[in-house]
């Protein structure tokens, strides 16, 4: 009898504490940014890296823009687009001046509709779906990172340069994966590379060994592995069991980096090639500064997610600063016409026709790391110029 009463009392206290709304600044005495990203669930680790990159971008400018302090609010989307939309709706309701979002293209596409309607700028630094700055694009949505067509073009070109003759495709069974594979197949055909087989695996498959076995037996010398999240690790780890990277050239988008290499282990990683959104070895002054600051704060080298997040956010904040006025429309206009001469990857140019950053494309291959460092590290083997990846704005 007594215990329930105590529990109830503490619950009531919690209730009460929660019900009192914390003091919120409604007047624009702060520059509010809401980061709507996964901080738990399958992509929590990616979101965590993005958060770090953004944090550096804000700290770098003393936490201020236009003379106002930046208030950064993080909303955990739990790797669920449903939650992502819910959190974005709330962030908008609380009057954020900028939304920074998501890993998943699906979530970004949904959130874009909300931010576009509320005329709030949305900065995308990871979601790659073509529609974000294409068919579904709107004035307020900007992407500073790669697009799927861009990554596809790189894979096709890379396969050709590696003189792959026959390609096998293993594709995650979802919309973006299927669309990407269809486009890639067309590209490969135009380059004279035969597609000898394809397999669609449900997202979250716990066993790829059989599919990989089929790919090896197909006689293909190249494998396009278009899977996402934890499935990358499952597939490559099980590939390691049969020394897959030594049997065929494995390539894909976001398929390999230092983080994934650590989770997969050397057997499944070494020799795997992947597009890279960013790499810490980029030889630019801004990148050197960023890597130093990142190492000082977090004690490790920045991942590609952190690098891209940093780059997008610092570019946006610099642009806002440059307008010198508190006016969202002015910021958007300025960003649309903006050229980033000193991004971490060299020159990035915002394409005003679609709010998409035009930039170089990187391709890397996993190699054994130096003694004492991580066992697997990425080596940038190809850098594709922007002109090869983008058509000029009409």
């Amino acid at each position: 009898m007594r215990f329930p009463a105590i529990v109830g009392f503490s619950l009531a206290l919690l209730f009460g504490g929660v019900l009192i709304p914390p003091a919120k600044a409604q007047a624009p005495d702060k520059f509010r940014i809401a980061g709507v990203i996964p901080l738990s669930g399958a992509w929590g680790i990616i979101g965590e890296n993005m958060r770090r990159g953004v944090t550096i971008a804000i700290e770098e400018r003393g936490g201020q823009v236009l003379g106002k302090p930046i208030e950064m609010v993080w909303e955990d989307t739990e790797t669920s687009s449903q939650v992502a939309v819910q959190k974005a709706t709330r962030a908008l309701a609380q009057g954020a001046q900028t939304i920074f979002d998501e890993v998943s293209s699906g979530s970004t596409l949904a959130i874009m509709k909300l931010t576009g309607q509320r005329k709030v700028p949305l900065i995308v630094t990871l979601s790659a779906d073509e529609r974000i700055t294409g068919a579904d694009g709107n004035r307020y949505t900007f992407r500073t990172s790669n697009t799927v067509p861009m990554e596809n073009a790189m894979i096709g070109e890379f396969a050709k340069r590696q003189s792959v003759k026959k390609m096998y495709g293993i594709v995650a069974d979802y919309q973006v994966g299927r669309e990407m594979w269809t486009a890639l197949k067309a590209d490969l055909a135009s380059k004279g590379i035969a597609v000898v087989g394809e397999e669609f695996a449900p997202i979250g498959s716990k066993d790829y060994s059989i599919i990989l076995d089929k790919a090896v037996k197909s006689g293909a010398d190249g494998l396009a592995l278009i899977v996402v999240g934890g499935d990358v690790v499952t597939a490559l780890k099980q590939g390691g069991e049969i020394n897959l990277p030594q049997k065929m050239k494995v390539m894909g988008t976001m398929l390999m980096d230092e983080t994934l290499g650590q989770a997969i282990g050397p057997a499944g990683s070494l020799g795997v090639s992947s597009t890279l959104r960013y790499h810490f070895t980029q030889d630019t002054p801004r990148n050197k500064k960023f890597v130093a600051a990142y190492k000082a704060k977090y004690g490790e080298l920045p991942s590609q997610y952190a690098g891209e997040a940093y780059d997008g956010m610092s570019w946006w904040l610099d642009t806002v600063e440059s307008t010198k006025v508190w006016d969202k429309e002015k910021w958007v206009d300025a960003f649309r016409a903006s050229v980033r001469e000193d991004s971490v990857e060299g020159v990035k140019r915002m394409r005003s026709c679609e709010n998409q950053a035009e930039q170089v494309g990187l391709f890397g291959t996993a190699v054994a790391g130096a003694e004492g460092g991580p066992a697997v590290t990425m080596k940038v083997v190809e850098t594709f110029p922007a002109s090869a990846l983008f058509k000029p704005c009409p």
């Binding site: 209730f15 709304p21 687009s81 449903q82 609380q94 919309q175 973006v176």
Partner: protein
């Protein structure tokens, strides 16, 4: 007994007043949004409790009714271009229909097997919608841009205006559940829960009553699904997933099943806890778990049950 009844009416009244007063007390859209979310989930939980608290059918598959309602409304409004009101009706129909199918398929199993059966059926629907019906459901990406009502020149994309739509439907649902509980049907369902053998023997068609309860429950779940889709302007197959089913069971249990107040309290509690804990600590997730466990052990009748005990004292 009488006193208990009074306490319930009082609590419901206070709750409704609180929700009604919210837009006047705070202009903060974030809080309004949270309140709208709580009311939407309350409709879901109230619907769930018709099946669970009233009739004793422990379903682990209510996400299917919720999600199908959301999709039915979205399809009606997005693809067919029908008005919001038709979308809502479609959602209620779709929720009820899927519940009818579940009930029919599961008519021969009961107890734990009924729970597992509903869980698996819902999972099946969720997988089919995610993979096979990708062109209809939008796949894992879902369908963005679910509309809100357009009527009388009121801008329902304004959070405060849409709030009143949800509030009205919430009140209607509360009233419906309260009347249902005291109606002949509600009494018959209570009878089925307490003693199915006796119910049959006094001439009730127990199978049909269970099916009716599940269908009504599905209708309200579908309604809630449509409101959530409209509130978030987004729908995805995650609404059909078993986490949703789990959430509604947990909220109903925490609040206390079998009363109109319990589910609403449960939803409010869980949502506010999530909100409050995630704002104050990184480890809110685990803390929520500890609270669930403590509540199971020490509050078998939910928070509403605790309230009843204190009231009687």
């Amino acid at each position: 007994m009488r006193q208990v009844k009074h306490s319930e009416v009082l609590t419901v009244g206070v709750l409704v007043l609180l929700f009604a007063a919210a837009p006047f007390v705070t202009g903060d859209e974030g809080w309004l949004y949270l309140a709208a979310l709580i009311m939407t989930w309350s409709i879901f939980a109230l619907g769930y409790d018709i099946s669970f608290g009233l009739t004793g059918l422990l379903s682990f598959g209510h996400a299917a009714f919720f999600g199908m309602g959301a999709y039915a409304a979205s399809w009606a409004m997005l693809s067919a271009g029908l008005p919001f009101s038709v979308g809502i009706v479609a959602a209620i129909g779709a929720g009820g229909l899927s519940a009818l199918v579940f009930g029919f398929v599961g008519r021969r199993v009961s107890g734990l097997y009924f729970s597992l059966m509903t869980l698996m059926l819902a999972e099946l629907i969720s997988i089919v919608m995610t993979t096979r019906l990708r062109h209809l459901s939008g796949g894992v990406d879902g369908l963005p841009g679910v509309p809100r009502p357009q009527a009388f020149g009121i801008d329902f994309f304004n959070a405060a205006n849409f709030y009143w739509v949800i509030f009205a439907l919430f009140c209607l649902t509360l009233a419906f559940c309260a009347v249902l509980k005291s109606s002949p049907l509600g009494q018959a369902l209570r009878g089925v829960r307490q003693n199915a053998v006796r119910s049959e023997q006094v001439g009730f068609n127990v199978g049909a009553l269970r099916l009716t309860a599940l269908t009504l429950s599905g209708c309200l779940s579908g309604l809630a699904g449509a409101l959530l889709a409209s509130l978030m302007m987004y729908v995805s197959p995650q609404l059909l997933g078993w986490k949703m089913s789990g959430d509604v069971v947990i909220m109903t249990l925490l609040g206390g099943s079998g009363t109109p107040v319990g589910p609403v309290i449960g939803v409010t509690l869980v949502e506010l806890l999530r909100e409050g804990l995630s704002a104050t600590t990184e480890h809110w997730y685990g803390l929520l778990g500890v609270i669930f466990i403590l509540c199971t052990i020490y509050l078998p009748e939910g928070v509403a049950g605790l309230g009843r005990k204190l009231w009687r004292r």
